[in-house]
Symmetry: C2
Subunit: 190 residues, 2 copies
Amino acid sequence: MNLKAERGAATRERVLAIATRLFATQGYDDTSIETVLQESGLSRGALYHHYAGKDALFEAVLEATEAAIGDKLLRAVRHIGDPAAALRAGVLTWIELAGDPVIRQIVLIDAPAVLGWERWRALEERHSFGMLKATLGRTGLVPERFVDLHAHMLLAAVNESALLVARGGDQRAALEAVEDFLRRLLRADP
Amino acid sequence: MNLKAERGAATRERVLAIATRLFATQGYDDTSIETVLQESGLSRGALYHHYAGKDALFEAVLEATEAAIGDKLLRAVRHIGDPAAALRAGVLTWIELAGDPVIRQIVLIDAPAVLGWERWRALEERHSFGMLKATLGRTGLVPERFVDLHAHMLLAAVNESALLVARGGDQRAALEAVEDFLRRLLRADP
DNA sequence: CCGATTACAGACCGACTGTCGGTCTAGAAA
DNA sequence: TTTCTAGACCGACAGTCGGTCTGTAATCGG
């Protein structure tokens, strides 16, 4: 039972790549399963054999995308000792990554509406949000009981900034603003 | 041009109320025009006479909702002189308002995905975001070149907090966290 | 009183998602 | 080798939905 399993995995990967491209360029609603079938040369039956439905396909795409993001962030941050510096580096890296239309459309715009807020939040928790929260906690600059909520707010703020940049905003200005925002949040009490 | 115009306006209002309820409870995708027709007793032709399509109907619902929010925020804030205090009051009021599922589902979750980020942003600019930005500018606590971006980030952060509360999070903890967040952002440089 | 305009009706269309019975083949079991 | 089974794949089909189009009745402006 090897050739078959491999073929299946290859098919899933092929479909995933095509779906990622289509979801990213056209958005979830304007991407029809029909188009995915045409571009992949697969039949309806085969696709629905691998993925339970359009939203399941989207979730798989999202999962893979988030995993890739997590890898990149981890790589950019893990050799930095100081938590505050790591936080800063991670946030700036994330903003640069969000320039990618794939990330913008899939992760930032469609995900919450397609998955529903609950499933979306759970997925975020397992990926970038988890990292942010842990790092913020390690800085010790925020009271422990606020760490979770502040991490949420910070991530939301940074995501918004990323969206503005991705939408043609001035990237340098955004980066400066985010740095200032972070500095204000994390400076010791006066 | 009186009886006809009034009848039309009444019909639009009726449909708007029904659509608001349905969009709020089931979300945009899971609300079918068919259901709106059944519940309003209207025919397809009539509905499409008043609204160009499902997204136009949603936009009308969103517009009305945002207008109502704006009214309430203005009423809660306009008698406060100090901009920083007004900002604080407005933000806290907004979090309470976001407890309403109508606001949560329509304004915070579906709006960006349905309208597209661009149209959504333009609409926000005309409503709550405009107020926030103006008030933040008036505090003078943030360099002018950062006011716009900081306002965006702050609103995103507060919205996130509102979502967490609306989703069954601890409201008191969230309010405290938001106050702390705001305080950190707005305190004078050390 | 009469054309024009407007509110409304509902049959109809095309596109889409998801289902279902069935085929085929690789590899395990006999 | 032969038989059997699981899983990859197929494509016709049903059902739903958003949107269009033609027609009708009532009101308005002149």
